[in-house]
């Protein structure tokens, strides 16, 4: 056979790191699934779920391990299809089928671009084996641009870069929560893996122009999706948008790394790539935690609309503590893991600027960094909204009062994830140094040893714990002297309290909607008749402006094409016959 079809596996640092992410995160999520699936036992097949889930995990490991572009694509497609089946697991709900189909289409667009990309690589190098491509990437020198663009489109569609993101906020809420945890926490990272593999390893770095394209796309994604996340009231939709935001953050830091690499500033470039890789791991952990938390809420109450929830801390206290840790992590609260990678990202933005000579570059990088800082603020806003409205206060509807008990396995899964979040944060300096060492060695093939934050995070964590303990002791002593009494909420003496007087999800983000609402298609309507009603609506602007016309057009074309169906076998045979004759003529004429 003319193709070199060796079934070797990739054993370099990049693959091992991502395999670590997959296994590390999927274990607690699998434990969680054990309890979570019970809910579906009545209506759906549990065996089907488990087999698809295992196949999904194995195919992701396959993607990361495969050392061959054909094998890569095979596993990639298996991953896409199994995840599609998992998204439409609750097939009896028509809405889920709809979003599943959107996901299916998007994932195939992604696959198509990747197919093109690997085709081009094969055309120019004659190789499918990754290691051999690396050895002869000089052949690719003049064609890097087209390959980069296809990689960006292909992997970007899978990861959820704007404007290829609309499947994320649709597929995640439709999928069962353990699946959304895996899809957001792990599958998006597999797309990031593919991108790093192609752009950093196979192409051996590209020109800074492409780095800027990536930086801008990432920043735009982060800005667009965080504002949309802020405006959502569906917990899982909010988390889905926030996943896209983090992907934007990761891709923009990768873009920065490319820019620095092409300017031969390897040290800063390694730092940026390290920040990106570390954020992959961290985002996987805390986003899985938050999605599993959303799953627990869904399990316990049957709704994921924030405006019907509230006061869950009383009934599901353990979940609410775990989710608090996840929320603090996504809000970059030290010493948790979100803080570790986010501060590293911002530090590498600032540090990189010092080294770059060109002022226009510096200007663009500073502006992107500033936009990402706004995104970080928005991330805290949306995280506090998601947590505060859902878990704190009083129940806003009957659903939030009648609560199912949560199985122990779900709590165990979440506890492990929160533990990860703390460990990865406190011991972040070791992890960062470890990643940077191997990144330098295997991706840039340079020897650099970097010390980023130093070890002060650990010291500070210890100090923080000591101070908290001291103050707790003081409080205990004070409490022994003074009583603690529980009353109704004071609220400036207003004593006719009703739960729906609390701030709702809409109200909480309304100030931001007033400034950035146009990004999320925010519309406010006040109808004054006998009673006053306030309606606030949001929609995804890109989806409505870009996707709906395309969908309408395709529906229109399909409507026309349908007319050649008559349902008679003879007519179909004649179609086939005519096609055959035309193709024979074409082949004879042209070849």
């Amino acid at each position: 056979m003319f193709l070199d079809f060796s079934f070797g596996i990739m054993k370099d640092f990049l693959s091992l790191f991502f395999i670590f992410i997959i296994i590390f995160i999927s274990i607690p999520v699998l434990i969680y699934s054990g309890g979570y699936i019970g809910e579906y036992r009545k209506n759906y097949s549990v065996k089907y779920h488990w087999s698809m889930l295992i196949l999904f995990l194995l195919s992701m490991i396959g993607v990361v391990l495969s050392s061959n572009s054909i094998l890569f694509m095979v596993f990639w497609e298996i991953m896409s299809i199994t995840s599609f089946f998992l998204v439409i697991y609750e097939y009896k709900n028509k809405e889920n089928l709809k979003s599943g189909i959107l996901y299916f289409v998007m994932t195939h667009i992604s696959g198509l671009f990747l197919m093109f990309m690997f085709g081009f690589i094969y055309k120019y190098t004659g190789q499918t084996n990754f290691i051999k491509i690396t050895q002869m990437y000089s052949n690719l020198e003049t064609h890097k641009g087209i390959i980069f663009i296809f990689a960006l489109l292909g992997f970007g569609a899978k990861a959820g870069l704007v404007p290829l993101h609309p499947w994320l906020p649709k597929a995640h809420p439709s999928a069962p929560s353990n699946i959304s945890a895996l899809m957001s926490g792990v599958m998006l990272k597999v797309a990031v893996y593919g991108f790093i593999r192609v752009v950093f390893v196979l192409l051996g770095g590209v020109s800074y122009k492409y780095g800027f394209i990536l930086l801008f796309t990432g920043t735009l994604t982060a800005l667009y999706t965080i504002i949309n996340a802020l405006l959502q009231n569906d917990i899982k939709k909010l988390l889905a948008y926030s996943s896209a935001e983090n992907i934007g953050l990761i891709f923009s830091i990768l873009g920065l790394s490319i820019i620095l690499n092409s300017l031969k500033l390897y040290e800063s470039s390694i730092m940026a790539l390290t920040a990106g890789l570390f954020h992959c791991l961290n985002h996987g952990v805390f986003k899985s935690l938050l999605f599993t938390g959303a799953g627990s809420v869904l399990y316990a109450t049957g709704t994921k609309n924030m405006n019907e929830l509230g006061g869950l801390h009383r009934k599901i206290k353990f979940t609410s503590i775990c989710v608090l840790i996840g929320t603090a992590a996504i809000a970059a609260i030290p010493p948790l893991n979100g803080f570790a990678s986010e501060s590293l990202i911002f530090m590498s933005f600032i540090k990189s600027v010092i080294a770059i000579k060109s002022k226009a570059f510096v200007l663009m990088i500073v502006i992107c960094g500033t936009a990402l800082a706004l995104v970080a603020g928005g991330a805290i806003y949306s995280a506090v909204k998601a947590y505060g409205i859902t878990y704190l206060g009083e129940a806003r509807s009957k659903k939030a009062e009648n609560i199912h008990r949560i199985p122990i396995s779900m709590n165990v899964g979440m506890a492990i994830l929160s533990l990860y979040s703390i460990i990865l944060g406190v011991f972040s300096p070791f992890i960062i140094n470890f990643i940077s060492k191997y990144t330098a060695q295997y991706i840039f093939i340079k020897e650099y040893r970097l010390n980023f934050i130093g070890y002060e995070t650990i010291f500070i964590s210890i100090m923080f714990i000591v101070i908290i303990t001291l103050i707790t002791i003081v409080s205990r002593i004070l409490d022994r002297k003074n009583k603690t009494e529980t009353y109704e909420t004071w609220a400036c003496g207003f004593n006719n309290f009703k739960p729906n007087m609390q701030y709702s999800g809409d109200g909480y983000s309304q100030p931001a909607a007033r400034y950035f609402g146009f990004v999320g298609g925010y519309k406010k309507e006040v109808i004054i008749k006998d009673t006053i009603t306030l309606k606030q609506r949001v929609h995804d602007v890109i989806e409505r402006q870009l996707y709906n016309p395309v969908v309408d057009f395709i529906t229109f074309i399909s409507g026309r094409i349908v007319k050649i169906h008559y349902g008679k076998i003879q007519i179909y045979i004649s179609y086939i016959f005519i096609t055959l004759i035309i193709s024979v003529i074409l082949v004879l004429k042209l070849v």
Binding site: R314, L374, G377, V384, I471, T484, Y503
Partner: protein, 306 residues
């Protein structure tokens, strides 16, 4: 090492004094006597000996929140140089400092939502709204400081700037940006009125309406410490002249006196700003922060592009 701990302890202990002085200056400028400068200490003592009343809607956030808030404030005090810096401390990364200060904000907003009170939600939402806009300014100020001194370590920055003799115009513009951010972050006047409990001005006070007893004492103490820390950071980044860089008695005494003078000057400035500007409408606060943003950008441009 020991001197660092001592100076941080002094900062923590003196923090309520600074807010007392600020209140007194405001009172004098407005033409009345005002409470004694030690009043915040009396308030805290009174609150600590009162019984604790919590809402029946509240959760574990109300229990642990105030403790964590106070711990974060104290921890950040230990990461800040006050009047002495050797420049070779292991701790003091600006990023970590800023993020630790954001713990206070995070738990404050959660406490606001915790007791199921409308006002709390309102304050929490507004606080987050302001915080979101302030974040880019923080990034730009940190970037500016890094461009100027090539360091993220606040002890090192203070040392480098303490021995510097020339000040560039970028430095002044950046200082203005920082000052606006300081006012926004500490809920001072044009952004939030710390003196009243009116619904219109409710940002910071609204979140802690249902907190009482020792919890309230903790939060009040934490916000006093936070104001003192912000002013100290400001002084040590932008005006650290006269700071002690060696451990001699003369240098230390000079440094302490200069520090106190600078502190008083800035308290006076804040007091003047507070009595001369009316509180902004919430939706005009982003304009103020945007002005701070453009100051920071201008500072970076002048620093880096010239």
């Amino acid at each position: 090492m020991i001197i660092n701990i001592i100076q941080s302890m002094i900062l923590i202990i003196a923090a309520p004094l600074f807010s007392g002085i600020l209140k007194r200056i405001k009172a004098i400028l407005r033409g009345y006597e005002g409470a004694p400068v030690l009043q915040p200490y009396f308030d805290i003592k009174k609150l600590l000996s009162k019984e604790r009343v919590i809402s029946k809607s509240s959760s574990f956030i109300t229990t642990v929140g105030p403790i964590i808030i106070l711990s974060a404030a104290i921890l950040s005090a230990f990461l800040t140089p006050v009047f002495f810096t050797a420049g070779n401390e292991l701790i003091g990364n600006m990023f970590i400092l800023i993020f630790i200060l954001s713990i206070i904000k995070f738990f404050n907003t959660l406490i606001g939502l915790d007791c199921a009170c409308t006002f709390g939600g309102m304050g929490s939402s507004r606080e987050m709204f302001i915080y979101m806009f302030a974040e880019p300014v923080v990034f730009l100020i940190l970037a500016f400081v890094y461009f100027e001194t090539k360091s993220f370590n606040i002890y090192k920055i203070a040392k480098l700037n303490a021995v510097r003799t020339d000040i560039s115009s970028a430095h002044i513009v950046a200082a203005i940006a920082f000052l606006i951010w300081l006012i926004a972050e500490n809920a001072r006047m044009p952004v939030d009125n710390p003196e009243t409990h009116l619904e219109l001005t409710m940002v910071h006070e609204a979140m802690i309406l249902d907190i009482s007893g020792r919890d309230l004492a903790y939060i009040e103490l934490a916000s006093a410490i936070k104001l003192a820390i912000f002013l100290t950071i400001f002084i040590n980044i932008f005006l650290p002249f006269g700071m002690a860089v060696s451990l001699s008695a003369a240098a230390l005494i000079k440094a302490v006196i200069l520090y106190l003078i600078k502190m008083l000057v800035f308290l006076l400035i804040i007091a003047i700003v507070e009595i001369s500007i009316a509180k902004f409408r919430l939706f005009r606060v982003p304009e103020l922060i945007a002005a701070s943003f453009s100051f920071a950008i201008a500072a970076i441009s002048m620093m880096y592009f010239s």
